[in-house]
Symmetry: C2
């Protein structure tokens, strides 16, 4: 199948590397420098592929594919939407973003759309190399213009034993459950500069984590007990990982705090979710301290 992948970040590179085993991949990036390097080296997934051949184009060269994965961060989505909307109505789009607020941005697109989340740990080493730090799955649900049956058929094409994609029947719950994980683990690891395991191993961070989990569940109408046990499971399973937000702060890049805690705060007053408000302002404070500007 011809697959387009928009975004040359950790998830975009990881997806490209694995899917290139069985498909024709075109990676769309923004920077000419990254295009040159991928043309030269292919894509490298450490411990897995020394070199995977893919096509690489600049985003303004985008053209129809059977299917296009959108792997840019939530705050970069507005930039690439004009290119996505130029595609034919037959191109199946799959959006892999954190948070919830990308939904309102894509809702008017006319292509068949699916929404997904990734549970992989992935760390971008350089413009063509990604380290697969935690093997997980990608979970997908149909959003608009694609039936559950059609999505399941599409997924059967992606069936790869070493890179599972699984079907879920409710995109909203999928995003909400991921949002809880992100709202707890990401800001705390970035604020205290610790690996994921410390969210449950440092008893004081754990107190804050439980509060953040309760607040997110309150906003999203999810079951607290179930989600808290899920937070603990994931913090343990990905214990040695450095969260994306901690990495973003360390490396002076903008974080996804607006799409995560910021989204929750937009749903209700700060005083109802004070712990979420605290970490939101904390991460903004760290961005400011580091001189990080959002594009």
């Amino acid at each position: 199948m011809n697959i387009g992948i928009i975004g040359g970040g950790a998830i975009g590179l990881l997806l490209s590397g694995y899917l290139a085993e069985e498909h024709d991949i075109t990676v769309y990036v923004r920077r000419a420098e990254q295009k040159v390097l991928i043309d030269l080296h292919g894509i490298r997934v450490t411990n897995k592929f020394e070199r995977q051949h893919v096509q690489c184009k600049l985003i303004d060269q985008i053209k129809d594919q059977d299917c296009v994965f959108v792997c840019v961060k939530q705050f970069q989505l507005l930039e690439i939407l004009p290119y996505v909307s130029s595609l034919s109505n037959k191109v199946s789009l799959i959006f892999l973003q954190n948070g919830m607020s990308h939904i309102e941005k894509i809702t008017n697109l006319s292509q068949p759309m699916s929404i997904g989340i990734t549970e992989h740990g992935a760390e971008k080493i350089n413009d063509y190399t990604v380290k697969h730090t935690g093997v997980g799955v990608i979970k997908l649900a149909s959003y608009n213009g694609i039936s559950n049956r059609e999505l399941q058929q599409l997924l059967s094409v992606f069936e790869q034993h070493d890179f599972p994609m699984v079907y879920r029947d409710n995109w909203s719950i999928l995003l909400k459950e991921k949002l809880v994980l992100n709202a707890v683990i990401n800001p705390l690891t970035a604020l205290f500069q610790v690996k994921n395991s410390q969210v449950i191993q440092n008893e004081y961070i754990k107190i804050l984590a439980k509060k953040l989990c309760e607040e997110a569940c309150f906003v999203l109408s999810l079951n607290e007990v179930k989600q808290w046990s899920e937070v603990q499971r994931v913090a343990k399973a990905t214990g040695e990982n450095t969260s994306s937000m901690f990495k973003d702060i360390k490396e002076g890049r903008p974080t996804e705090i607006e799409a995560i805690s910021g989204y929750l705060l937009k749903q209700c007053s700060n005083s109802k979710i004070p712990y979420t408000a605290f970490v939101y302002h904390s991460i903004k404070a760290l961005e400011k301290k580091k001189g990080i500007l959002h594009r």
Copy 2:
């Protein structure tokens, strides 16, 4: 006058250095190593005194003086109280601690007692050297067994143009107003690892600072508007200072978080002062991360 000073930390050394200009000072310390160094070098206040001669004794050698300043941290107070209580009832005691909870520990002492706070910035460089990083005043109020008039007389003895001590008529308000400053500036500077000025210059830290100030004023029944303007004034005036809590965390020492935010939390439920609860657990988390143990 014969003055005893208990504690060889930043404030103890600073006070000893200045008061030694006009008085006979005996500094009481816990560690023999520090005693040896002070015997050898005297006390050095950078930019002010190269060498001030004082007597230095171990705390178990304590004997009557005209007046004794107690300059240990709040969490070290219980250790030195047996020595203090062995002094004659004529020895005037002056307690310089942060927080409020030392009051209940000293309430049964039979000596005349005054309570004070210091607004100096002071950084201990080594066991006999202190850097005077911010010139302020010491404010004192009578607590028990000493009349306002007697305290004012005592203060007139300390009159030094370069090290002012001023009289206040209400020890409780004195401690409360200092507690607000400490509850805002200390945990935030330690959490974000910034100098005092950032509490008002980083707009996101400032949002948290205002919330912490409001919560502290709520617990202590102080005027929010007045205290918030005071927090901003002090953060600006001591802008280049590293707060004591930030220093404690950096250098792996126990902080005074229990005496500050911990005290406020004991006064009311966590849910009424969630920002205070957040910084309390945060500082405990940082202590835990750094492997800091309280003695």
